[in-house]
Homo-oligomer: 157 residues x 2
């Protein structure tokens, strides 16, 4: 058992848990009270950051521990919760790489973060190209169908 | 405040907190007792997975909340803890994308996971190309120097 504390919170216009069109969403990531803005020093030298956050609106009883059809769509195979990125997962942790637009003190402005307003942030990491897959990646066809409208037409991500 | 529970543990040959040559390391990710292997069903259709883990060997007093020179090397700029990926960070969370070699029931074999033996895993996610940065990334020069020996000569990652 590990206790984690938010280091920041997401502020944006997305209040509900909508599934699609996240690419255009601009978010502010505001450091939590007591977190020193010096902890962000130099982050503006990176074009992208990785945000580790909590899907805190998912209630306990909604957490899937086995397998399910992604988005409940039976046209797609039933796969384990760890073989998909759905929010109702054990520990409710989300991770997304986003474009860093600017830093002002303890506030980051990013584009393409798929988290609703008020989301607690557990960590912020710079995206380093050496941490991206070196070679091409392989994924099943259902992912491409599911992701079709996820970012929408936005330039984000 | 959020309480998280390990869903799996890392098993490998790396006992100490060495900094470099992680690329060749083969690890087993074994689901924790009580976690149903069906939660991994279909993950083998992905070439890479993202592992969210806890740097649980970092003691409280070692956690950096401000800024520091990466690896204490004064040749590199002093940057905030959220502008680097060092392990002694608030919440001690690590995230790494690794090559998935195989799945056997509740055990995944991966290559290039930079976590020591016994590390608790909080989440496992498939790497989807739509979640990787769409365009090229930009990063400061010190990162390339620091990362030079990180993966070593291994094919991993």
């Amino acid at each position: 058992m590990t206790v984690v504390q938010p280091v920041a919170f997401v502020r944006n216009s997305r209040k509900g848990q909508e599934d699609d069109n996240w690419g255009d969403v601009e978010s502010r990531i505001e450091l939590a009270p007591g977190v020193d803005p010096v902890s962000l020093e130099g982050i503006e030298a990176f074009s992208h950051i990785e945000v580790v956050f909590v899907f805190d609106q998912v209630p306990d009883e909604a957490i899937e521990r086995g397998s399910r059809h992604p988005r409940g769509n039976t046209a797609w195979p039933k796969v384990g919760i760890f073989a998909q990125r759905a929010k109702n997962r054990p520990n409710r942790i989300g991770t997304t790489m986003v474009r860093l637009e600017k830093r002002e003190g303890g506030v980051l402005t990013v584009r393409g973060l798929d988290a609703v307003d008020g989301t607690p942030v557990l960590d912020i990491k710079p995206v380093m190209k050496q941490f991206l897959p070196r070679e091409g990646t392989r994924q099943p066809a259902w992912v491409d169908e599911l992701m079709r409208g996820y970012w929408g037409t936005g330039p984000g991500h």
